[in-house]
């Protein structure tokens, strides 16, 4: 029996820089509407995995399927079309420093749609308003704070109303309240746009708050050692590495709790 194809599916993926293998044998599915968390210690290859998912880096082995079609076997125009349906917020924001925020967001709109200039400007203002940056159109990235740059990066990622949004550590460098607002924003966007969201994060609070599926990468064994709903993982996992991570090192063993 064949399952309906997932939004994104990864099969037997091995990632490597040259001969240096980062992770091997990754297998997981990201369904439409999921908020999928990629977690693991620093340097275990989360950003690298994200680069594979968005088609910036080709797998050493294995496949990445987007709506059931293999990204790396597709022709170049098809790959471009697939990439247009994704929006990425990079770990460092990656706003184009020589353009204003408005120009940053208008660029993909001008490139890929036939809209009139005036309407693009309106859409740009809308996107900035959605991330709480109304009125900052004429600012350069160097003139706003780090957290605002994150949000502006999010506005640019949403420019083309993508079907899948990728976030590399969206809440790093944000104050706790802003981080929570960003989580809510992500949830709202998922609900309103019907988008699928893939998040790399270290923030336990936000993981449990928004995630409904996940994968846990381990740097030692160089493969995935757990997956599933983060909250369930915390309740049920017996792997000391996973428990340590999810309890910030406070526990290493599974505790059965009979409160349910």
């Amino acid at each position: 029996m064949t399952q309906p194809s997932a939004k994104i599916e990864v099969r037997a993926l091995t990632m490597a820089y040259g001969d240096f293998v980062i992770q091997r044998d990754l297998n997981f599915r990201i369904e439409q509407g999921d908020i999928f968390i990629i977690m693991g210690g620093s340097g275990c290859g989360k950003s690298t995995l994200l680069r594979h998912l968005v088609g910036l880096k080709s797998p050493a082995k294995g496949e990445v399927l987007f709506d059931g079609a293999s990204f790396w076997e597709a022709e170049e125009p098809r790959q471009r079309a697939m990439q247009q349906r994704m929006g990425v917020l990079y770990q460092s924001g990656a706003l184009w420093s020589s353009m204003t925020l408005a120009e940053n967001i208008a660029l993909p709109l001008g490139e890929y749609t036939q809209l009139a200039r005036a309407e693009i400007d309106e859409l740009v203002s809308l996107k900035l308003a959605l991330v709480g940056l109304a009125g900052f159109e004429a600012y350069y990235p160097s003139e706003i704070s780090g957290g605002m740059r994150k949000r502006a990066g999010l506005a640019r990622a949403m420019a083309l109303d993508p079907e899948v949004l990728f976030f590399d550590e969206p809440s790093a460098g944000l104050d706790p309240v802003s981080a929570r607002l960003l989580d809510e924003l992500i949830l709202q966007l998922r609900d309103s746009l019907g988008a699928t969201v893939v998040v790399v994060t270290h923030e336990l609070a936000s993981m449990f708050a928004i995630g409904n599926n996940s994968i846990f990468l381990d740097p030692e064994s160089k493969t995935q050692i757990a997956g599933g709903d983060p909250a369930r993982l915390l309740r049920e996992s017996r792997d000391p590495r996973v428990i340590r991570f999810l309890t910030r090192g406070e526990r290493t063993e599974w505790e059965s709790r009979s409160d349910g």
Binding site: L115, L130, D161, Q188, D191
Partner: protein, 369 residues
């Protein structure tokens, strides 16, 4: 899409596609169609809506405020839940007061004034930079500068050894050209042997230093500006400052020392290769024997001529390093600022080289060297 009056208000019915690639009806048209003295409710029906994206949200966002201003009560229930969520999100955070900037157009006079101010600022910055650099140099001389010897060696290699091939190529070609043009003229008097004097003196006093300097301005001056500019963009220079390390000591001094040390050597190297290039032309095209050419060169060119070239090249080295490092350190915080800094560094260095060369030639003439 159409709207129809009802007993208790208006119903706006949406249908079809409301995406980026569709054509949307004009809002103004719709507003005009509304019955003028209208007070009541506006409701929506989106059962037939086939697809929407943020264009739809934007369309609504611009439609609703003028209606609400007229006193119409807008009921959002008929819109898809996603649209309602986005509309709420977009109006949730009010614009921060004073944040918006308009595009300003300046008059001619204001532009001229601004340019003059900028020029003055540039002059002031140059003086400041030189002042700080002299302080750093002083600290180095009394042995208190924080600078890594390994950096110095790296730059010596990059600025000196790695530049040898390109300097050789240019110097030989310049020697060839000088010799060829000179010898053609001298041949008319049967004095083609004097081409050795011409090439020897020109290379030693002028061209060796000049060519090496121009190559290094394009190669190393630009590299300095780009390296330091990128560090400025990444806040690396700020990181040095907050750690109490003077970036001028740590970053600029080794670059400047390396370039100033290497320039005279490159100059002598270029001199010799240029003379060889001239000799090549003399031997092959004008049938002067190698030994005669060499003898003539040795008789014509004194050590003082080489000395003039070497002193010039020392000055050029300092100028290139100062131009490159200053533009790099003063660079703005964007990718295009790095480009501008690199361009200014090269332009500034080349202008400075030519002006300094003219002045030094006059001085050498006055002193009789």
């Amino acid at each position: 899409m159409l709207h129809s009056s009802e007993a208790h208000g208006l119903l706006l019915v949406f249908s079809g596609c409301w995406r980026a690639q569709c054509t949307l009806p004009a809002r103004d048209e719709l507003l005009r169609q509304l019955p003028q003295p209208f007070q009541g409710e506006l409701r929506f029906d989106s059962a037939d809506l086939r697809g929407w994206d943020s264009r739809f949200v934007n369309w609504l966002l611009k439609l609703i405020p003028p209606l609400e201003k007229r006193g119409i009560v807008v009921r959002y229930e008929g819109l898809p839940p996603g649209v309602r969520g986005l509309l709420q999100l977009a109006t949730e955070v009010p614009e921060r007061a004073g944040a918006r900037r308009g595009a300003t157009r300046r008059g001619l006079l204001a532009t001229v004034g601004e340019q003059i101010y900028r020029l003055l600022d540039g002059g002031k910055a140059l003086l400041e930079f030189i002042g700080e650099l002299l302080q750093a140099l002083f600290r180095m001389l009394i042995g208190r500068a924080r600078m890594r010897a390994s950096d110095l060696f790296l730059f010596v290699q990059q600025n000196g050894i790695d530049a040898l091939p390109i300097v050789a190529l240019i110097a030989v070609l310049v020697g060839l050209i000088l010799a060829f043009i000179g010898a053609l003229q001298l041949q008319m008097f049967g004095a083609q042997i004097y081409v050795a004097n011409l090439v020897g003196i020109a290379m030693a006093r002028e061209m060796g230093a000049m060519m090496a300097a121009i190559i290094m301005a394009g190669r190393t001056g630009a590299a300095f500006a780009a390296q330091l500019g990128t560090m400025q963009v990444n806040e690396e220079i700020d990181a040095f400052r907050t750690l109490g390390v003077d970036p001028l000591e740590f970053l600029v001094l080794p670059r400047m020392l390396a370039l100033t040390l290497m320039m005279p050597l490159l100059c002598i190297y270029a001199d010799l290769l240029g003379i060889m290039g001239g000799m090549l032309v003399g031997i092959t095209l004008f049938e002067i024997s190698p030994s005669l050419y060499l003898q003539q060169t040795l008789a014509a060119v004194s050590l003082a001529d080489f000395g003039v070239g070497v002193v010039k090249s020392l000055v050029f080295g300092v100028l290139i390093a100062v131009a490159g490092c200053m533009q790099g350190i003063r660079c703005g915080r964007s990718a295009s600022a790095v480009g501008e800094a690199t361009t200014s560094a090269v332009v500034m260095a080349i202008v400075a080289i030519i002006v300094a060369d003219a002045i030094m030639t006059l001085i050498a003439n006055a002193l009789g060297v």
